[in-house]
């Protein structure tokens, strides 16, 4: 019985995934702009700005299928395990790496992240740690990205800017606007020899902000 249920769940996850893809494409016609890299299935950590809960599905939907299959978003366990539906969508549809940020847990986030990288998965992470509700383009990055770069020096760290989501669904609004969302991928980065944590994080922040499209109006 168990393997049948597991197969059915996988099938359901696939169908729900396709449905979410269609929904995201209808709502925002999301577009990937590969500025600094080619869309090839190399092992990468896509690190992105975080302004809305839609960021992760947006990046996920903008990736070509071959890359998407091997990508695991890093997400907060407390959010995705809140109810049964989320516990299905987060870990099974998006294949999230769920991390618990409370200091008292034994299962340290970085261990789970590095384990996922060692398995060969690519990751989507939001190094600001929280959603950015300020007018600044980015919050200061947390150390996680630097630690990943140290632990897995061969993995490309790819800055990924999600644009327009602020206008599609500003905080406090109920109806999303079906505007076009653009996800821009920049040139891959690595932690350089002897580079300090702060230097690297500032460099990564600058590389990410540089991708923000300039809108003339």
């Amino acid at each position: 019985m168990k393997p049948i249920i597991a197969t059915l769940r996988r099938l359901a996850a696939g169908i729900v995934g396709q449905f979410l893809l269609l929904l995201v494409r209808f709502l925002t016609a999301v577009r990937a702009d590969w500025k600094g890299i080619e869309p090839i299935p190399r092992q990468r950590v896509y690190f992105a700005n975080h302004t809305s809960n839609g960021d992760m599905p947006m990046i996920w939907a903008s990736l070509p299928p071959a890359i998407r299959r091997n990508v695991r978003p890093v997400a907060a366990a407390d959010y995705w395990l809140k109810n049964k539906l989320r516990a299905f969508v987060g870990p099974e549809v998006f294949n999230c790496v769920l991390v618990d940020r409370r200091p008292e847990v034994k299962d340290k986030p970085m261990d789970k992240i590095v384990a996922a990288l060692k398995e060969g998965s690519s990751l989507i992470i939001f190094p600001e740690g929280n959603r950015n509700m300020t007018d600044d383009p980015l919050l200061p990055f947390k150390a996680g990205l630097y630690n990943m770069g140290l632990a897995m020096p061969d993995v490309d760290l790819v800055p990924t800017w999600v644009a327009n989501l602020n206008e599609i669904m500003p905080k406090g609004e109920v109806i999303p606007l079906p505007l076009i969302c653009t996800v821009t991928f920049g040139a891959p980065m690595h932690v350089q020899d002897g580079e300090s944590k702060d230097d690297f994080l500032r460099r990564a922040e600058q590389a990410l902000v540089a991708l923000k499209p300039v809108v003339r109006s």
Binding site: P170, L177, L179, V215, R216, S217
Partner: protein, 314 residues
């Protein structure tokens, strides 16, 4: 099978035959160029022809489904065009509600009015009611920063992407024929003369064009436009049997629609240049967005509609 259905099938096969010819022409030209030095004009031409195949199939199927099919097709085109347009316009959080009303209330209402043939409402709702009400909705949120620019650009988007586009299916409401279902062919006539005129303008303009019309905006030349409009008139004359216009009338209407459409294309080129984008979006392969594909039809439709109404609706 009714006469109209027959004519739609005939036109679809005719369009497929033309596309076949255009595809062969492109391939022949391509086979003559050297591999090391590919000609971008031919490549652009070929991608255009390719998405034309898909468009002809879509429009043909919509026509066979009748009035409802055509109205729904253009409602979706409107939605895509409005999304492309409003992505690039100036807006603030204070406009969120008025933009949502544009997408989810005004756009569906406009096409419901077209479907029910309430011409008073679809002619006035956006230019009068939306024009006055949406700025009120935005003003209520109390943000004056660039207010006039915001409301003006939103209104422009609605006029172009909803009001103008909806005048293509609205052609089917014109009471010209005793048996109403033939007016669906006016849609075919408009789309065919405008788009074929554009295609020929592009191709011959690039080959023989000398004098640019607006060098800062677009590579369009007077020679290309003259040739394109002349071919549109010729195509109009050949298609006069699906219209109530007669041969000369069909040539005149085709010429006006094509000319207005080409200058409309210039207007959109100016907007794109101002916003620093090359295409409106990426949704049609090799073509850019729906607005890139439809720009000339968008401009021609309301004028074509009103001239037809003025001269041929008794």
């Amino acid at each position: 099978m009714t006469d109209t259905t027959n004519d739609i099938l005939l036109l679809s096969f005719g369009a497929f035959a033309i596309l076949l010819g255009l595809t062969f022409l492109g391939e022949a030209l391509r086979s003559r160029q050297s591999i090391n030095n590919p000609n971008p004009v031919i490549d652009t031409y070929m991608t255009r022809v390719r998405s034309w195949w898909a468009m002809v199939a879509f429009i043909g199927i919509a026509m066979l489904l009748g009035k409802l099919g055509v109205t729904l097709l253009f409602a979706f085109a409107s939605f895509a065009a409005l999304r492309e347009f409003l992505t690039l316009t100036t807006k603030a959080r204070a406009d969120h509600m008025s933009l949502a009303l544009g997408f989810f209330v005004l756009l569906p209402l406009q096409y419901i009015f077209v479907a029910f043939e309430w011409s008073g409402l679809y002619s006035l709702m956006i230019p009068v009611y939306a024009f006055l009400m949406l700025p009120i909705v935005s003003a209520l949120r109390g943000n004056a920063d660039r207010f006039l620019i915001r409301v003006a650009e939103t209104q422009w988007g609605l006029m172009i992407a909803v009001y103008c586009v909806s005048h293509v299916p609205a052609l089917m409401n014109l009471d010209i024929y005793a048996n109403g279902d033939r007016s669906v062919l006016l849609v075919t006539f408009l789309v065919m003369v405008v788009q074929l005129g554009d295609l020929l303008e592009y191709f011959f303009g690039r080959r023989f064009g000398r004098t640019r019309i607006a060098p800062g905006l677009s590579p369009k030349t007077w020679e290309g436009v003259a040739f394109g409009v002349a071919s549109a008139m010729l195509i109009g004359a050949l298609l006069n049997w699906i219209t109530p216009f007669g041969v000369l009338g069909a040539m005149g209407m085709a010429g006006i629609a094509s000319l207005v459409g080409m200058f409309g294309n210039l207007v959109f080129a100016a907007i794109k240049r101002d916003r620093g984008v090359k295409d409106w979006s990426h949704l049609i392969p090799g073509q850019g967005g729906f607005v890139d594909q439809l720009d000339s039809v968008i401009f021609a439709a309301p004028i074509f509609y009103h001239l037809t109404r003025y001269f041929w609706v008794g």
